[in-house]
């Protein structure tokens, strides 16, 4: 798997992401500066990592979403290329129009930084094939604006088309207000686009990929992408 990690001023999770990609795919990812107008030849996966691009000025991800490299990412996605956005990367994908909706301020106004449980809603996508449908995984979150919101029609379409891949839940997989940490619509933690090749999620799977991290539940997401691309090749 040839991956490219986008680098915007103010992000801080790009090295965690690169480490996870290298560990699981066995290949060094390319780091792509925001001012670039093209992606490296043969890229299989583009990742927008977490952090605080442009200091979260204006709205989270708004300025990064208008940077030159995002035109290349939009073209890559419209050709069916796989795109993953994590945390600030999810906010950037929403602001760039690659995913619907927006991430609003957490409902209880606090920055949330701890492990959460996620229910994997389906396993038949490139982003979830490393898991079983209904499986509960534990990964960290670290965000102040992760409260997913969209108009009613968009939420209805996301649900109707099975485009919610990850939801906040209890350790045993129950979805309720107590475990909906940031007040997101329908406890949404991660969604895909209509075509199914772009995923945005608030939690950080790249931070649970090695034993030394205390948990390896995030590894399945990357392993699933590798398996998907090997099968497609």
């Amino acid at each position: 798997m040839k991956s490219a990690v986008l680098v915007f001023p103010g992000i801080n999770r790009e090295r965690d992401m690169a480490r996870a990609l290298r560990l699981v795919s066995g290949r060094e990812p390319a780091m792509v500066w925001h001012a670039e107008t093209s992606l490296p030849e043969g890229t299989d996966l583009v990742v927008a990592p977490g952090g605080f691009s442009y200091g979260d000025y204006l709205r989270c991800g708004a300025i990064a979403a208008r940077s030159p490299v995002m035109d290349a990412v939009r073209a890559f996605a419209s050709g069916g290329g796989l795109v993953l956005g994590v945390c600030n990367g999810f906010q950037i994908l929403c602001e760039s129009g690659l995913l619907p909706g927006i991430l609003m301020r957490n409902a209880r106004l606090k920055f949330i930084c701890h492990d959460v449980h996620l229910r994997v809603e389906r396993s038949d996508t490139p982003f979830t094939r490393g898991y079983n449908a209904g499986q509960v995984i534990r990964v960290p979150v670290a965000h102040g604006e992760g409260n997913y919101a969209a108009d009613e029609d968009t939420i209805r379409r996301l649900e109707g088309e099975g485009r919610v891949l990850y939801r906040y839940c209890s350790a045993t997989g129950e979805i309720d207000d107590t475990h909906n940490i940031n007040g997101a619509a329908q406890s949404i933690a991660g969604i895909i686009n209509e075509r199914g090749n772009v995923l945005g999620m608030m939690p950080h799977p790249e931070n649970h990929v090695e034993d030394i991290m205390g948990c390896t539940d995030g590894r399945g997401l990357f392993a699933g992408l590798v398996a998907h691309l090997e099968r497609a090749a």
Binding site: N106, A107, A149
Partner: protein, 79 residues
């Protein structure tokens, strides 16, 4: 010329920051506060006549200053 773009949350969009400010105003004892919604104001200086300036400001608001999923905007050319 000088212009102002005001961006506000659409009706019905939950505004936790506005709610927190509302609570703070009430705890200060400021009377009669029914509700607070937070928004943004952009004061912009630009060239050109009023018509082209308004068009440019609308493009700026549509493409960057507002996210029309949740926000409305108003453009005023102040002269």
């Amino acid at each position: 010329m000088k212009a102002r773009v005001t961006v506000t949350l659409k009706t019905g969009v939950l505004d936790p920051q506005g709610k927190a400010i509302e609570g703070a105003l009430k705890s200060l004892g400021i009377e009669g506060v029914a509700s607070v919604r937070q928004g943004k104001v952009f004061d912009i200086e630009l060239d050109g006549d009023k018509t082209t300036a308004e068009a440019a400001l609308r493009a700026a608001a549509d493409r960057l200053l507002a996210n029309t999923v949740i926000e409305n905007y108003r453009v005023e050319v102040l002269g």
